[in-house]
Amino acid sequence: MTQREHLRNLALLGLLALGLLALPQGLSVYLTSFALFTMMYVVLALSWNIISGFTGYTSFGHVAFYGIGAYACAILVVDHGWSWVTTLFAGALVAGLVAVAIGYPVLRLKGPYFAIAMLGMAEGTRVVATVWDGLTHGGLGISFPSVENSTSTYYAMLVLMLITIAVAYLVAHSRFGIRLNAIREDEVAAEALGINVTRYKLLAFVLSAVFPAAAGGIQAYKVLYIEPQAVFFVQITIAMALMSMLGGKGTVIGPVIGAVLLYTAQELTWVNFPTAHLIAYGLFIIVVARFMPRGLIGFAIDRGWVRKGMVH
């Protein structure tokens, strides 16, 4: 991609940022919340995509990092009186460290073994959050003092989303990203070519862990009450994977589109058909999986609507 195209993409991101910056002024509190959670899913899907799309290691346990971030925020704010924005960095740091500790052994596993190990890891963190009473208050959950938080959490999520998009974009267009793709396509060959696969996989894993943790922290502060069941909810991982796959995993724009579309579709189906939304949601997934196995982006490329090199 040329310098010019990069600049144009940067300008587009800037435009998006400006638009979203002004959004809460013109919208109701509900639509602001809706936009906030949409951006949260953009962050989650994009992060999942770094390890599972770029690098090819499908994770079924990414909700663990989100939950760790949520708990870091709640514990530090409620029990230790930290300011909530600071806790986001702390949560990201903890999640990053956990990713190193878990990733080092687990990234040696491939395919379904890795997916299942991650599923186990997410369940493990949920159990720890339930059992480690002294730290997490166990099943009682943690309740924040009531505060006005609609705009502050919105802007925090906006900043986080912009950072995540920028990082994903930079990764995709760097040597690092190309190495990750090489690992995805053929790990043995990549290693034979002199790529330090362990290091790059670990780095990708850590990158994919820190943003969900920050997102978890923001959502905890938005909802003001967390419990293990709610923040280590396996469906959140599934949403990350589905959104990436719907948009087109392994690209930067794919997970963004997937998250926006799927979250919007979900919202519209239950607004209009509250009882049938699960069926509608299921049908939607089946249609996408059947007719667009490479996501919307892949579908568009196959039909020549989008030039292949442009979609990173």
């Binding site: 909802v223 239950w270 509250p274």
Partner: protein, 397 residues
């Protein structure tokens, strides 16, 4: 890339147009919008479904007798998917976008805890028929009122009965989540008050099915009775395994499980003599609350089953809301809040009069399963029969 970003922006714009932007303006003058979000899908769908039944029935009845303060109810019930995050978002929608006049409560203590912050922020009150966890009312909130007995009192009757039969040492066990832990705390408080010794208090993780080690530990600790703060599957497993291991206790009390019809059906003879707790039972001749007979008959006609306490409590909360609206004389939420805080009334569910924290002092019922039927044994004023305790030994049954 350009196209893709444009498409994403277009999708966002389309959404803003598609989602209806506030219905307050085009609402007919003779209507009142009553709304809430409740778990119609997900893990709470079963109990919350009974509450939805009661809500719909109440709305139809109110509309057929001329509406609320002369205005016809337009009901909006959204689905929070048993998820706190969705619930918070939906209550923001109901208040800021749909601009409901009267707010209805969600189901479960956890979701109510999260939604209560929205009530405070927008100064919209409701009677929380789906929450029994007292910390919700310990934070100085002004717009949330309780109607059901708090979790801490679920074992009140069982501890009293244990005391009556001369039990000295009890064990308190329970699932590790908000509600069972609160009822465990309450059981401990009642035991301390009545001078019973708690020799073991332990929480086990959700979905645990093997209690053999825990039961043996309880026996080894010298407990004579078990207070189990449990749901259905765990309580059933505990009773089955007690029998398999031939461990005898003078009294066993579950919180939620024994109240469900399938408990006695599935456990058969093993369920006999087990104590359980109910917020309310459809027993008009015993409870003698006004309007109970009509409520039970109408509910049974509509839904083909007798109302359980979820339905009874919800209907009671709506009767309280209706009475408070009458007292307030308008849909002004501040006036409604003040009325809910001060009103004293009796519903099909019992008396409603809240203290300065907004908590109603509802008295629940302790029952015992006798010949497969739930029979109220505590408090004495409502007892159908005397409790048959201590439980006979397994070998003598």
């Amino acid at each position: 890339m350009t196209q893709c970003v444009l498409r994403a922006v277009a999708a966002l714009m389309a959404l803003l147009v598609l989602v209806p932007a506030g219905r307050a303006e085009d609402r007919p003058k003779n209507e009142v919008l009553v709304g809430g979000a409740i778990s119609q899908t997900g893990r709470f769908a079963e109990p919350a479904g009974r509450q939805v039944n009661a809500i719909k029935m109440w709305v139809d009845q109110v509309n057929s007798r001329g509406g609320l303060l002369g205005r016809k109810i337009n009901l909006v019930l959204l689905d929070d998917k048993s998820d706190t995050q969705t619930a918070v978002k939906l209550y923001e929608k109901l208040i800021t976008e749909d601009k409901v006049d009267v707010l209805l409560a969600p189901y479960s203590s956890a979701i109510t805890e999260a939604v209560a912050n929205i009530n405070e922020r927008y100064k919209m009150p409701f009677v929380a028929y789906g929450a029994a966890s007292s910390p919700i009312w310990e934070k100085g909130r002004k717009y949330i009122f309780s109607i059901v007995a708090i979790a801490e009192d679920y074992q009140k009757g069982a501890v009293h009965l244990a005391k009556q039969i001369g039990v000295k040492r009890i064990a308190i066990i329970g699932e590790d989540s908000l509600f069972p832990r609160q009822s465990g705390i309450g059981a401990k408080q009642w035991a301390d008050k009545l001078g019973l010794q708690v020799v073991l208090q332990e929480n086990y993780p959700q979905k645990q099915t093997d209690f053999t080690a825990l039961l043996q530990k309880i026996k080894a600790a010298g407990a004579e009775a078990i207070m189990s703060n449990s749901y259905f599957a765990d309580a059933a497993a505990q009773v089955r395994q007690m029998r398999e291991l031939n461990l005898y206790f003078k009294l066993f009390s579950g919180t939620v499980g024994p109240g469900l019809p399938q408990f006695a059906e599935q456990l058969g003879d093993s369920a006999e003599y087990i104590l359980g707790f109910s917020q309310w039972e459809p027993l008009p001749d015993i409870l003698k609350h006004p309007g109970m007979k009509e409520f039970i008959a109408e509910y049974e006609k509509r839904y083909g089953e007798k109302p359980n306490y979820h339905a009874g409590g919800t209907y009671g909360a709506l009767q309280v809301t209706e009475a408070a609206l009458k007292q307030a004389g308008s849909f002004d939420s501040q006036k409604l809040r003040d009325a809910l805080a001060s009103i004293e009334t009796t519903t099909v569910f019992g008396r409603y009069k809240v203290n300065d924290k907004g908590m109603n002092d509802h008295e629940g019922l302790t029952f015992q399963i006798l010949k497969g039927e739930r029979r109220v044994v505590f408090p004495e004023q409502w007892a159908e029969t005397k409790a048959k305790l201590p439980i006979p030994e397994w070998s003598k049954r």
